[in-house]
Subunit: 285 residues, 2 copies
């Protein structure tokens, strides 16, 4: 049995009848103190555990942006869903250069397990998200085990897709907002993969949703992608390659292109309610 | 007829089918370039003008905080209401000391017309909000004239109450979240009134909602105040004095104390939908 982790409550604010909490603990994967947010819906308690949606944020975010800007709490309260949001990288590890760029290092962990010498001891966001965080959440918060799903935005949309595709059955549903869908063909992806994984492109493919979905044979993930039609980062996101790969692989995907929407939280906030309803419906089937 | 003002569009982002815009123009009252936000609901255009809710923000805010953090757009879209949010003070006027405090000067205009020598040429937020801004909005955006209402948060709740109470009939409805209800008895209020209005306390009373409501004889304002029970700023807000003054004056007030809620946007976001529905209902009567 896993050793029990003690959470510290960083903040706790009432919202739509539930509590928007932020916790911290020392992560073994990241080798640093890390924070995550958890919205506890009004009816959840140890006698009444609820399903949990993991939310992965995008470049430059902390655990805070989504809880302040998306308005998701209304829907999580209504659908009685816990929503857990990790940070986007380790912090304060004193790695030379980790704070020099907005799109690499701090705030840009890219949800991979780094193998390069400088980053391999801390930048293990993939194992943190799929192993350590769910364990810690299930030990400490009133969630139903095996009723997990995952979603995210931009870099976090990439994270949600790869975490679900690499762990068939672990997440019952995966959705994404404007995800970096084919990172090995994106300058954002190439920069982070080079820095965290080195020059061997073979290893990059293990973290590319468009590659992974081509080989996916697990249960239906109820994949949904929402994308704004005037997103200025479309060249980094490349959703069409993922859409084509799903078609070729026979994997069901609900891809929705929204006329006139951009990349930010105004877009996420507009559609997050529909995603939360979908996750809740699938997790309660 | 008022001289026409040309607005500059600072930003425009689609949200819940409408457009969340930010405009700027040179304000004669404030003698500086100033910004305001306007959410244009999906069905509003010059052939189909809509009612307008003015939203006044609290200390330290710009026109941006409310549009990013409250999630109000969902409800404004649903109820086909325009929502306009001015800045909380003039900016960049180069008045010595105006940036020295978070609770006075920049970001803290307190919705009064200053009379002290240093501030009287720029800090005219009261006249800006009740005269210049509505004129500019009605000249430039698809709103129904005489279908205005007002709301706000904290310092902005104070602003909403005094603007409505001082101009009977101009706003059809006034609501507030955790307003500074009796500023002449609040250290925040005393600091700003002293700085903007000088030591003569007689003039302060003209901007104190608890004093103003005692003399109010205009049409029903459908006053509503929402207040969190664990708001850490209760000593500055003093809602009970306002509640008592309404009772004595026979002015109808829907005062709602919400158990366990605090002061910030998690509180505002939880109840903003009910306020927007109320404003829409009253403005369409």
């Amino acid at each position: 049995m896993a050793e029990s982790v003690q959470l510290k409550l960083v903040s706790s604010v009432k919202c739509f009848g539930g509590m928007q909490n932020v916790y911290s603990f020392f992560s073994k994967q990241l080798q640093c103190e890390t924070r995550f947010s958890a919205y506890i819906p009004p009816k959840a308690d140890t006698q009444n555990p609820v399903p949990v949606l993991y939310w992965l944020s995008g470049l430059t975010c902390t655990e805070e942006n989504f809880i302040i800007k998306s308005g998701f709490q209304r829907y999580a309260s209504e659908h009685n869903l816990m929503v857990v949001g990790p940070d986007t990288s380790p912090r304060g590890c004193n790695i030379e250069g980790e704070d020099a760029n907005w799109d690499f290092g701090t705030g840009a962990g890219f949800y991979v397990d780094a193998t390069t010498e400088k980053y391999k001891n801390n930048y293990r966001m993939y194992s943190y998200v799929v192993k350590e965080l769910p364990t810690v959440v299930e030990q400490n918060l009133p969630v139903i085990k095996d009723a997990r799903s995952i979603s995210g935005h931009s870099m976090g949309g990439h994270g949600a897709l790869i975490c679900a595709l690499k762990n068939p059955g672990f997440y019952k549903c995966a959705t994404a907002f404007a995800p970096i869908s084919n990172p090995t063909a994106s300058t954002w992806g190439v920069k982070c993969f080079t820095g965290y994984l080195g020059d061997s492109k073979e290893t990059w493919l293990e973290y590319d949703a468009t590659v992974l979905v081509s080989k996916y044979t697990g249960p239906d993930l109820h994949l949904r992608i929402d994308q704004g039609s005037v997103d200025p980062f479309m060249d980094h996101l490349i959703p069409n390659n993922f859409v084509e790969a799903c078609k070729k692989a026979g994997v069901s995907l609900d891809y929705r292109l929204h006329d006139g929407y951009e990349h930010g939280y105004m877009f996420v906030g507009t559609f997050i309610g529909e995603h939360i309803k979908l996750h809740s419906d699938i997790l309660r089937k």
